[in-house]
C-alpha cells in the first residue's frame, strides 16, 4: 500500500517536473516481480513453480517491436503490484525454452499459472490493449 503511494507520488512528481510518462520507481519488491530469466533452472524455479501467475516476455535483441513492448509491459505489471509477475526471456540465450513454448515471431507474451499456459499475445500492441489483456489475465488467474 505504502509502496503504491510512493510509486504514484514519485511518478506524479516526475511527470510534473519532466512532463512525460516515466517508468515507476524501482522498489525492492519490484525486483522480485520483474526479472530476466538466467537459465532453464531459473525458469523452473521462478516461473513454473511460482505461486503467482507470471507473464513471460519472449523477446530478441534484434527485434525492434520487442524493444517497444518491454517497457510497456513492465509499466503495466508494476501497476498491478504483486498480483502478477514478469519474466523476460531472451530467445537467443534460451532458444530451446523459446521453441518449447512455440515462439515463432517475437515479441510474445505468455501467461503461465502453475506452469500451465492461460493465454498469449503475439506482437506489439498499444498500451491500453496490453493493460486490458493483463487485467483479464489477473482475473482469470483468480478463478
Amino acid at each position: 500500500m505504502q509502496r503504491q503511494l510512493l510509486n504514484t507520488l514519485g511518478r506524479g512528481t516526475r511527470q510534473l517536473i519532466r512532463g512525460q510518462q516515466m517508468r515507476p520507481l524501482s522498489v525492492s519488491a519490484q525486483r522480485r516481480e520483474i526479472f530476466k530469466v538466467q537459465s532453464a533452472e531459473d525458469f523452473d524455479k521462478k516461473v513454473k513453480n511460482s505461486q503467482t501467475p507470471v507473464i513471460v516476455d519472449f523477446f530478441a535483441t534484434w527485434c525492434n517491436p520487442c524493444k517497444l513492448l518491454t517497457p510497456r509491459i513492465e509499466n503495466i505489471v508494476g501497476e498491478n503490484a504483486g498480483s502478477i509477475k514478469l519474466a523476460k526471456v531472451d530467445i537467443d540465450e534460451h532458444s530451446e525454452l523459446a521453441l518449447d513454448y512455440d515462439v515463432g515471431a517475437v515479441p510474445v507474451l505468455v501467461v503461465l499459472q502453475n506452469g500451465k499456459e492461460i493465454k498469449r499475445m503475439v506482437g506489439l500492441q498499444d498500451e491500453d490493449k496490453i493493460r486490458a489483456w493483463v487485467a483479464a489475465a489477473v482475473k482469470e488467474s483468480k478463478n
Binding site: 530478441a60 534484434w62 527485434c63 537467443d92 532458444s95 521453441l99 515463432g104
Partner: protein, 512 residues
C-alpha cells in the same frame, strides 16, 4: 494351454516378427545426416523430411581470425547474398538522395554521410531474425538440429560434441556434405592478423575508411562498390583480370564503370606484406608483376577477396574414403562422391557454380532422388547470375568468347546496343556503360546462346529471360516480343544492330 498363456505366447511371437522386419529397415540412427546448415544443407534436409526421412542436420561456424561468428543459415544468410544486397541497397540510396534533388525534392544532399554503425546494426538485426526463423522452421519441419561440427568416423558414422561436451556418434544411411567454403587468405606476412574478409565486413565494428580490396572477382568488386557508394575510398588490387570466367567485354565495361565512379584499380599487382604502423593504419607492400616495380601504400582496412576454399579439413574425409580435389569434393551428375551413399551439394562441390539458388535446387533434387524415387538430375547449364555493382551486370548462358569457341566465329551473331534509361536523364546520370548484348546462332531462327546486360536492377531484368533461354529462346521470338515501355528490359526486344555490321551501337533517342 490356458487362454492367458496363449495370449502371452502369441504376443511374443508378434513382437519377434516385428523386430525381425525392423532389423532390415532400422539399421541406422537416421536416414540422412546433413553436414552443414546453409542453403544446400537446409534445402536438402527439409525436402528429405517432407518425403518421410529421419534427418539430423549439423551446423557450426568456426570464428574468423578476428573473431567474427554468426548463426544458423550458412554463408548466404549471414555473410553473403543477404548482407551484400542490403549494403548494396544502402549505397544506391546514397546516390538516390542526390538524384532526388534534380527531381525537385528539397533535401540537403551536401556532405551526406552514412552512419556505418547504424547500417551494420540494421543489417545484423535482419540477419539474426533470419537465423531465428530458420531455427523455428527446422523445428516445425521436424529436422533435428545440432550446433556442432561433424566428422566421419567411418563411412556411415559421424562423431560430434556439443559445446565441448562428451563425444557422441550418429549413424546414417545417407550422408550429405554441404559444409560450404570460407574466404582464402594469401600466404603473406600479416594476412590473418591485419586483413579481414567478406566474413567480417558486414559486422565490422568500425568504419572501413580507406580500404584495399585484394581480388577482382564478384566479391571484391561488389564490396569495393558498396564501400565507394557509402563514401569510403576503395582500391581494387587485381592480380590478372577482372571477373575471371565472365564475358571479357562485359567485365571490362564493368571495370570502366567503376573507374568512372572513382574506384581505384591496381592492375597486375600482387600483395607482398601487411604491417601495422604506429598510427594504427596498415602499410601494404605490393609488386606490379608487369613492371616488376615494388610499391606500398597505407590503408585503414585490407579486405581479402582472392577466392574461397571448401571446408574439407574438419570432416575427416579419409575415414570415409571420400575423394577431394583442390580443397573441394568431387561428385558426379547425381552429386554422389566416390562413396555411393555419401553425397555433396553446394559450394563444397568441385567445378560447379558457387551460388545459393544452385545449392538450394540441387539439394532439393537430391533429397527427392533419395527419398521420393525421383530421377531428375540438377541442370547446371544456363544458370543466370548477377554482379551487384552500382550499375549491375547480369548474364545467362554463354559468354561471347565461349560461343565463338564452341560454334566458331562464323556461326555466331551478336546483337548489341548501348541504351539510355529514362530515369537517368534528369539527374544527368552517366549512361556510358548501359549496354546489353545477345549472343546467338547465326542460322535459322537464331537460337540465343547467351544474354548479357549492364544497367539498373540487372538481376530483375535477366531473371525472366533466363526462363526464356531455358525454353529455347530465339532472336526471332525476342524481336517479335513487344517491349514494356519505358523500361530498360525492353531494350532486349529492340536489339537490331549486329557486331558484324560494324554500325554504331549508340542510340540517338528512345521510342523508335
Amino acid at each position: 494351454m490356458s487362454l492367458w498363456k496363449l495370449l502371452q505366447v502369441s504376443s511374443a511371437i508378434r513382437s519377434i516378427a516385428r523386430s525381425a522386419s525392423y532389423l532390415g529397415k532400422v539399421k541406422y540412427d537416421y536416414d540422412l545426416v546433413v553436414l552443414g546448415g546453409g542453403s544446400a544443407g537446409l534445402a536438402c534436409a527439409k525436402e528429405a523430411v517432407d518425403n518421410g526421412a529421419r534427418v539430423l542436420c549439423f551446423d557450426y561456424v568456426k570464428p574468423t581470425p578476428v573473431g567474427t561468428k554468426w548463426g544458423l543459415g550458412g554463408t548466404c544468410v549471414n555473410v553473403g547474398c543477404i548482407p551484400k544486397k542490403l549494403m548494396h541497397q544502402a549505397s544506391l540510396l546514397g546516390e538516390a538522395v542526390h538524384e532526388a534533388v534534380a527531381y525537385g525534392w528539397n533535401v540537403n544532399d551536401q556532405n551526406i554521410k552514412p552512419d556505418w554503425q547504424k547500417l551494420v546494426k540494421s543489417v545484423q538485426n535482419h540477419i539474426k531474425s533470419v537465423n531465428w526463423v530458420t531455427r523455428v522452421d527446422l523445428r516445425d519441419k521436424k529436422v533435428e538440429y545440432v550446433n556442432s561440427m561433424g566428422a566421419f568416423v567411418d563411412p556411415h558414422t559421424i562423431e560430434y560434441s556439443v559445446k565441448g561436451g562428451p563425444k557422441q556418434q550418429a549413424t546414417a544411411e545417407y550422408v550429405v556434405v554441404a559444409v560450404g567454403g570460407r574466404p582464402r587468405y594469401p600466404p603473406i606476412l600479416g594476412a590473418t592478423e591485419f586483413g579481414i574478409t567478406s566474413d567480417d565486413i558486414f559486422s565490422y565494428d568500425r568504419e572501413p575508411g580507406r580500404t584495399l580490396v585484394v581480388g577482382a572477382g564478384y566479391v571484391g568488386l561488389e564490396c569495393a562498390c558498396f564501400l565507394k557508394g557509402l563514401g569510403y575510398d576503395p582500391t581494387v588490387m587485381v592480380r590478372s583480370i577482372v571477373l575471371r570466367g565472365f564475358d571479357r567485354q562485359m567485365s571490362e565495361l564493368l571495370e570502366a564503370m567503376m573507374s568512372e565512379r572513382g574506384v581505384q584499380f591496381l592492375h597486375t599487382t600482387i600483395p607482398s606484406s601487411v604491417e601495422r604502423q604506429g598510427d594504427g593504419r596498415l602499410l601494404v607492400k605490393y609488386r606490379n608483376t608487369t613492371t616488376e616495380k615494388e610499391d606500398s601504400d597505407v590503408f585503414d582496412t585490407v579486405l581479402w577477396a582472392i577466392g574461397r576454399k571448401g571446408l574439407i579439413e574438419d570432416l575427416n574425409l579419409p575415414a570415409a574414403g571420400v575423394e577431394t580435389k583442390n580443397d573441394k569434393i568431387v561428385v558426379d551428375s547425381k552429386e554422389a562422391t566416390n562413396v555411393p551413399h555419401i553425397f555433396a551439394v553446394g559450394d563444397i562441390i568441385h567445378g560447379r557454380p558457387e551460388l545459393s539458388p544452385v545449392a538450394i535446387l540441387s539439394g532439393r533434387l537430391l533429397a527427392r532422388r533419395l527419398f521420393a524415387g525421383s530421377k531428375q538430375l540438377m541442370d547446371y547449364a544456363d544458370v543466370a547470375t548477377t554482379v551487384f555493382t552500382p550499375l549491375e551486370y547480369s548474364c545467362v548462358g554463354m559468354s561471347e568468347e565461349m560461343a565463338i569457341q564452341t560454334h566458331g566465329p562464323d556461326n555466331i551473331e551478336v546483337f548489341h546496343g548501348y541504351y539510355k534509361p529514362t530515369e537517368f536523364f534528369i539527374p544527368r546520370k552517366s549512361v556510358r556503360h548501359c549496354y546489353l548484348k545477345a549472343v546467338a546462332e547465326i542460322t535459322g531462327d537464331q537460337k540465343i546462346l547467351g544474354l548479357h546486360y549492364i544497367g539498373p536492377v540487372a538481376g530483375e531484368v535477366i531473371q525472366g529471360f533466363a526462363a526464356a533461354l531455358k525454353s529455347g529462346l530465339t532472336v526471332k521470338t525476342l524481336l517479335n516480343t513487344v517491349g514494356i515501355h519505358p523500361t530498360t528490359a525492353e531494350e532486349f526486344t529492340r536489339l537490331s544492330i549486329t557486331k558484324r555490321s560494324g554500325r554504331d551501337p549508340t542510340p540517338a533517342s528512345c521510342c523508335s
